[in-house]
């Protein structure tokens, strides 16, 4: 756009004024807290005492030496991994079904996506009732197959699967609509060509659909990992990290250390571990996207 010559500083000032509110907030509540948290992670502090004791890397050393924290990391990997694989597989299956010319598919798309907009706290409560081992709906379904209902939320090996099922139920619709958009972007000519070559349905899916969807799969992989690492509300109402820490993820650990046990240093260290995880995932994304742009 042409600018009145000789007075670019007016535009510069205006630019700064337009972006100021957003950038000031980002500075105070995104960038600065990250630096401050890095410092806090090197101290011991109960959030009340006037002084913080500098302890170097002790918080990290303590955390990574503690068997309880290994459990937390394993739980986080279990939770994130199951949700990643589950939402990719279920999302793709749903998208393939809802992409068919079937009557009522618009309605079903709406139904599948609806849980995504519901409050996690509300969803967690409904599912706590559904998982009730005696009066719950899940028992009815397991009864059809002659399987006895486990004591879902009280049993250390069933609590995590229960939380994962709920999270998948709530978020599968998101993966499905993203995959649907991806499916609709695949040019028809590719399918025509496959047909001419005599490809079967499975071959078409394997050699046309899946490769064409790989950018979508990649986008979903990154967003799903980022969102599931931050999952909190469903765990908070269903299990509170229990039973016996069976559903304590890194996010819940951070909350516990900071706002229940008041160990600011440990909570800050856990926050930094979370941040590094997010940073690595994002850098991998940027790296792969750039490579694809350069070499294809």
């Amino acid at each position: 756009m042409p600018t009145r010559k000789g007075r670019p500083w007016r535009d510069y000032l205006l630019f700064l004024a337009f972006i100021a509110p957003n950038f000031i907030l980002l500075g105070i509540f995104s960038y600065w807290p990250l630096l401050y948290q890095a410092y806090l992670s090197l101290t011991r502090w109960d959030m009340i005492a006037p002084t913080k004791v500098f302890v170097g890397a002790n918080n990290y050393r303590f955390m990574f030496a503690e068997p309880g924290f290994h459990r937390v990391l394993l739980n986080t990997a279990y939770f994130t991994g199951a949700i990643l694989i589950g939402s990719l597989v279920i999302g793709l299956a749903l998208a393939l079904l809802l992409n068919q010319r079937l009557r009522g598919r618009t309605l079903v798309r709406g139904i599948v996506f609806a849980p995504y907009v519901l409050s996690g706290a509300a969803v967690g409560l409904v599912w706590s009732y559904i998982f009730d081992p005696v009066y719950g709906l899940m028992r009815v379904i397991l009864d059809w197959f002659g399987i006895g209902s486990p004591d879902w939320l009280v049993n250390t090996s069933w609590a995590m699967p229960a939380v994962i099922i709920v999270y998948l139920w709530k978020n599968a619709g998101y993966s499905a609509i993203i995959y649907l958009a991806g499916l609709q972007n695949i040019p028809n000519e590719l399918y025509d060509a496959a047909k001419v070559d005599g490809a079967t349905g499975w071959a078409t899916f394997r050699y046309v659909t899946l490769p064409q969807l790989s950018p979508t799969t990649f986008f979903l992989t990154v967003t799903t990992i980022i969102f599931s690492i931050q999952a909190f509300d469903i765990i908070a109402v269903m299990t509170e990290g229990g039973p016996i820490n069976a559903t304590t993820t890194l996010m819940w650990y951070l909350y516990q250390q900071g706002f229940v046990a008041f160990r600011a240093g440990l909570a800050a260290a856990a926050g930094m571990v979370l941040f590094v995880l997010l940073l690595v995932i994002t850098l991998v994304q940027v790296f792969i996207v750039q490579r694809r742009v350069h070499y294809s």
Partner: protein
């Protein structure tokens, strides 16, 4: 037109029709199964919200309560200050969404239409904030809010989450597609940037404006962790946190009353969703295909 087919050909034709029919039936069966899986828990919430204790504690369960117990809603409303929770959620959501739209459009407008040296670097800096969600830095953010004296205030709930990175990104993507000629013409007639934004750019961006607004609305209405840690007085709780509070109070025996309370939380969002799901989906997929 009658053509008599040889016997074998007729048989194959028949077999493929049968097969095609079978596949069609299978697809509809799957569609119904999928709809059931995603609908039944929501139905279950509504149905349980009208059950009395006797109907909750029966097996096999009662799908539709015989005598709906509407008092569950009255009991839930009285068991915790839900009127207050609604007020808090409405205020924090409304101001939060308005701030996000205002800051998002202003920032995106500046990035697209106002010259500034190296502004792409600033844009990258803004996108980098997506890596630092408020959850990850909640401890230092809590300390900042406490030092500002903002615990148990609307400012404490709203302001830290009012910056917009993803929304700005979506607005910028859209602004880049606007025809530059119209803006130049208005410029030559002496319109300033603020006028250009409100009179020309925004009216041309209604769909993306609605979409970003709706996504922000859903997120802020459902927000749980941040309002949980910056409030501890019951009268400053928002709906999702208030719901968890009610659950703690009632324990998991009063499912009817608790389900009535979950309806308080989800009903407004479900209504908005039924009316505007197209816009919400458009925004989420735009982020995926262009990002």
């Amino acid at each position: 037109m009658e053509v008599s087919l040889p016997k074998t050909a007729a048989k194959t034709a028949q077999r493929t029709t049968v097969r095609r029919y079978g596949v069609g039936v299978l697809k509809y069966a799957l569609l119904i199964l999928v709809a059931a899986i995603f609908f039944v828990p929501i139905f279950w919430m509504a149905s349980a919200s009208l059950k009395d204790l006797r109907e909750i504690y029966t097996f096999p369960p009662q799908w539709i309560p015989l005598t709906p117990r509407w008092e569950n809603y009255v009991d839930a409303w009285n068991a915790a200050p839900f009127g207050r929770f609604y007020t808090n959620t409405l205020i924090t959501t409304a101001i939060g969404v308005a701030a996000e739209l205002l800051f998002g459009t202003m920032t995106a407008y500046a990035f697209v239409f106002i010259p500034f040296p190296k502004k792409n670097l600033l844009f990258l800096l803004m996108l980098a904030a997506l890596m630092i969600p408020i959850q990850v830095t909640m401890l230092p953010n809590y300390l900042t809010v406490a030092n500002l004296g903002w615990l148990n205030t609307y400012a404490g709930i709203i302001v830290p989450g009012a910056s917009v990175a993803f929304g700005t990104f979506l607005f910028r993507q859209h602004f880049l597609t606007l025809p530059k000629e119209i803006l130049e013409a208005a410029r030559l007639e002496g319109a300033g940037h603020f006028q250009l934004l409100t009179k020309i750019v925004l009216p041309l961006s209604r769909p993306i404006f609605v979409t970003v607004g709706l996504i922000a609305l859903v997120n802020k209405w459902n927000d749980f962790l941040w309002p949980l840690i910056v409030t501890n007085r019951i009268d400053m709780r928002v709906l999702p946190v208030g719901l968890a509070y009610l659950f703690d109070q009632e324990g998991n025996s009063q499912w009817g009353v608790i389900m009535a309370a979950t309806i308080f939380v989800v009903a407004p969002i479900l209504l908005i969703f039924a009316w505007a799901q197209r816009h919400i989906i458009a925004g989420l997929t735009a982020g995926a295909t262009k990002g």
